[in-house]
């Protein structure tokens, strides 16, 4: 919270330095993002992928895995969802939409199964693989959007529209789709699963101390696979929702770095999927509101990015300070442990 206060103060100074009235700017952000039904619709549309991505990242982090591949998984889910929508063109909405969303889950899960498999069989760190696959998925989407599925009239990397029957129902006027109704239960459900179930407990144990969890009968390899594939599937679902809810087609630029923001949100929410709900919403407010700063207060787009960065950096700085204190406490606890370390240790 202190981080947020610092961010607001720093940004106020920044805005003042750029010649804008901070109070006007802040109220513009709030009124743009929340002050109208259309604004709220935009904010919720932004919240949906951020929330799905962040709760997926938080979920995998609880087991000790870092999924930096949400962007790629969004594309993979979007690709498969779009493909299935093309394939089943003409089916009624009541069947088509669920199948298309399911295809999104499968697409993201399939892409994430690559790092999961490499981690499980060869111990290759999922960080690198998930990041690299972001590019693979992006370029595959670009190929499809400019090649086989391209809309020849559009003249950019964009496919022909999918059947209207595959569109997500509207929730609010102004383009607000029902995706948030899928994302919210996902975040809540993941947290409940982690807290209440045996597998959820094993998941957290593996993330907290894999060595002790292994002695406690937790199957670490299986947990790694589940963590990464489920997180990937949720990323894929976010992709399918972007296709069916926002664009009605596949295009590059489907995700303006939702994946990295998802990681930030997950960290700020202290790896709790349910806690990503308010944080993702706050980020969405910031994104939608800051975009409007360009128009109303006349700030350059780079200043808006700067504005967002200040928020992230200051909150992270305070979170890290907390993290350090936690680490220090753990180190102290370990020092008290008389168990002898093995000389040489683990390289």
């Amino acid at each position: 919270m202190l981080g947020l206060v610092v961010a607001l103060v720093v940004n106020a100074l920044l805005l003042a330095a750029l010649g804008a009235n901070p109070v006007t700017a802040y109220s513009t952000i709030l009124s743009a993002a929340l002050g109208s039904v259309a604004g709220l619709a935009q904010t919720l549309n932004r919240t949906t992928p951020l929330l799905l991505g962040a709760s997926a990242v938080a979920f995998a982090m609880r087991a000790g895995y870092v999924n930096l591949g949400i962007d790629g998984q969004i594309y993979a889910g979007a690709i498969l969802a779009t493909g299935v929508a093309f394939l089943l063109d003409g089916w009624p909405a009541v069947v088509l939409l669920p199948v298309v969303l399911l295809a999104g889950l499968v697409g993201g899960g399939l892409l994430a199964s690559i790092p999961a498999w490499l981690r499980a069989t060869r111990g290759i760190n999922e960080l690198f693989v998930t990041v690299m696959l972001n590019f693979v998925a992006l370029f595959l989407a670009e190929y499809l959007a400019t090649g086989p599925w391209t809309d020849p009239v559009a003249g950019e990397a964009i496919t022909v529209p999918i059947s209207a029957a595959a569109d997500l129902p509207r929730l609010l006027p102004g383009g607000g789709h029902a995706g948030i109704l899928l994302a919210l239960p996902v975040a809540v459900g993941l947290s409940l699963w982690l807290a209440r179930t045996r597998s959820g407990f094993e998941f957290r144990a593996a993330g907290s101390n894999p060595l002790a969890a292994g002695f406690g009968g937790v199957r670490l390899v299986r947990i790694g696979v589940v963590a990464l594939v489920v997180a990937g599937a949720l990323g894929g679902l976010a992709g399918a929702i972007e296709v069916t809810g926002v664009h009605s087609r596949l295009l590059t630029g489907l995700t303006p770095n939702f994946g990295y923001m998802a990681v930030l949100i997950a960290v700020l929410a202290r790896r709790s999927p349910v806690a990503t709900i308010p944080v993702a919403f706050a980020f969405a407010v910031l994104i939608v509101g800051a975009d409007s700063l360009q128009r109303s207060v006349g700030l350059p787009p780079s200043a808006v990015l700067l504005f967002q960065a200040v928020v992230v950096v200051s909150i992270l700085a305070f979170e890290t300070a907390r993290g350090r204190r936690l680490v220090a406490r753990l180190v102290q606890a370990t020092r008290r442990s008389p168990g002898r370390r093995r000389a040489g240790g683990v390289a």
Binding site: R198, S208, F215, G217, R219, A333, T334, S337, A343, A347
Partner: protein, 509 residues
């Protein structure tokens, strides 16, 4: 490098040293003196204050009271770099080397400050000379990560010598060494002393002190028990000092039960040669019967850890069979063995036993969570509350972070957890490794009581311990593990420490 020793000179003089941590008096009025050219053994049980005293000498801890003088000059050692500046160097049990650096780079790291460039070639030559001189031959270009433990130790010692230390503290340096490496190390240590260095050897093995030391100082419960010239002392004198008048040997515990026929745990012809490990296990034949308390003795690093991991299910069995209460668990996973009643209490409780940041009840639940069909966090909290009351665990409650508990209380929780696993199987097998290391007398007695009770309740206990006293006091028989093989056994009533000691150190033929 060290100047030649002058007669009557004192390299280290620590007087009236006191240090407390909270309510615990780690050191109380300790005097410690080492002459140049002397190898000085520092003996005492776990927690007697040996390492604390040396941490004061090396500037890691600031003493509450007392005075330190080096070479007759009073010094104020407030930080480790103060101590290094005064020529004090310590080789810790866990080496402080950069794994990814070569030996040479590690040695230069602490010893040389260079801003832009350094003349590596001349340093290399001098280090090589130093290494040759004392018999610390290592390949200076090998990465430390690729070195044997014994070679890593040589690098660590060279690093400290090259930094200019003339007072060298070795903290239990033989723990991870093979017998041949130990001989080699001792020869080098004598060589260092002959050059006028003062060497302090923190030890917990008596025969090592007699093998290499000139003098020995014994600490007991943070107090000075005495100092002796080794040449003039008998083993018994030193033992008497360590034990004190109140000879607190581990109290032998009479079990009130007979050993049954059924095997709760059995290994037949088990070999485990997979994986990159220090020790492979060969041809293990070992049975633990209902009501039986079996001990595994041996010098650390002879396969104890590997055996524990094998029994837990974390290390695959290459050939042979393992049974738990009659069920074949040779290729069973950890969770399947837990359900079969194999309860393992790992040796390193903080690293292998607990979920440090999680609430206590979750640490208590780990492993036990597999035993019942129904899983409910609420029940787990209730069970933890019962356990806390039953075993008098000092904590604010089941939701307290595990890391907030003291070592003794954490061990109580882990013992309770293993008891539950064993009892769930109607008297399964408890495998415990060094269960009392670092515990105070009360907590250790508690652990021992619980193990004995497990036997009485119809289970079987396999105690893997480096503490021979503990083994002899508790076990129905003691089997010696040496170089990954079972070298022989003795049965209660016929225990002979010398015979067991021979089995422990016998070279594998």
């Amino acid at each position: 490098m060290a100047e030649p020793a002058r007669a009557g000179d004192v390299a280290v003089e620590m007087a009236g040293i006191a240090k407390s941590f909270g309510d615990v008096h780690a050191l109380d009025d300790v005097t410690f003196r080492v002459a140049p050219g002397e190898v000085h053994g520092l003996l005492g049980e776990n927690g007697a204050g040996k390492t604390t005293l040396m941490n004061v000498l090396t500037g890691l801890y600031l003493a509450d009271r007392g005075d330190v003088a080096l070479h007759g000059q009073h010094v104020d050692l407030r930080t480790p770099s103060d101590a290094v500046g005064h020529g004090v160097g310590m080789v810790h049990q866990h080496f402080e080397l950069v794994q990814a650096f070569s030996a040479l780079e590690n040695i230069l790291l602490g010893a040389v400050t260079a801003t832009w460039s350094m003349d590596t070639a001349s340093h290399r030559e001098r280090i090589a000379d130093l290494a040759d001189h004392y018999g610390f031959t290592v390949d200076l270009d090998t990465r430390v990560a690729d070195m044997e433990v014994g070679d890593q130790q040589k690098v660590e010692i060279l690093r400290i010598l090259y930094a200019g230390a003339d007072i060298l503290v070795l903290d239990e340096p033989t723990t991870h060494l093979t017998p041949a490496e130990v001989d080699h190390l001792f020869a080098s240590v004598r060589e260092l002393a002959a050059e006028g260095l003062a060497v302090v050897l923190i030890a917990h093995k008596l025969h090592e002190v007699f093998a290499v030391c000139d003098r020995v100082t014994v600490l007991r419960h943070g107090r000075l028990a005495g100092s002796l010239d080794v040449a003039a002392a008998a083993h018994a004198d030193v033992v008497a000092m360590m034990m004190g008048d109140d000879a607190t040997m581990v109290e032998a515990r009479a079990k009130t039960c007979d050993i049954g026929e059924d095997e709760v745990l059995s290994l037949r012809g088990v070999t485990a040669t997979g994986g990159a490990v220090d020790v492979h296990l060969h041809d293990l034949d070992l049975q633990v019967h209902r009501g039986e308390f079996v001990g595994i003795a041996g010098v650390a690093g002879n396969g104890q850890r590997e055996l524990m991991e094998l029994l837990a299910g974390l290390r695959p069995i290459t050939t042979g069979r393992m049974h738990a209460s009659g069920v074949d668990v040779t290729h069973a996973r950890v969770d399947e063995r837990i359900r079969a009643g194999v309860a393992v209490l790992p040796g390193d409780r903080m690293r292998e036993g607990v979920l440090p940041a999680s609430p206590l009840y979750e640490t208590y639940a780990l492993g036990r969570h597999l035993l019942h069909d129904h899983f409910s966090p609420h029940d787990l909290q209730d069970q933890a509350r019962d356990m806390i009351a039953r075993f008098d665990v000092r904590t604010s409650g089941p939701t307290a972070p595990t890391a907030s508990l003291s070592g003794g209380n954490i061990q109580k929780v882990l013992v309770a957890r293993a008891l539950d696993v064993s009892e769930h199987a109607g008297g399964g097998a408890m495998v415990v490794m060094n269960p009392t290391s670092g515990l105070d007398v009360g907590a250790a007695a508690f652990v021992h009581d619980q193990l004995v009770r497990t036997c009485e309740a119809g289970g079987g206990v396999l105690l893997i311990s480096e503490d021979l006293d503990e083994l002899l006091a508790l076990c129905d028989r003691v089997v010696v593990l040496s170089h990954g093989r079972l070298a022989g056994q003795q049965v209660a009533g016929d225990y002979d420490r010398l015979v067991l000691g021979d089995l422990m150190v016998a070279a594998h033929g």
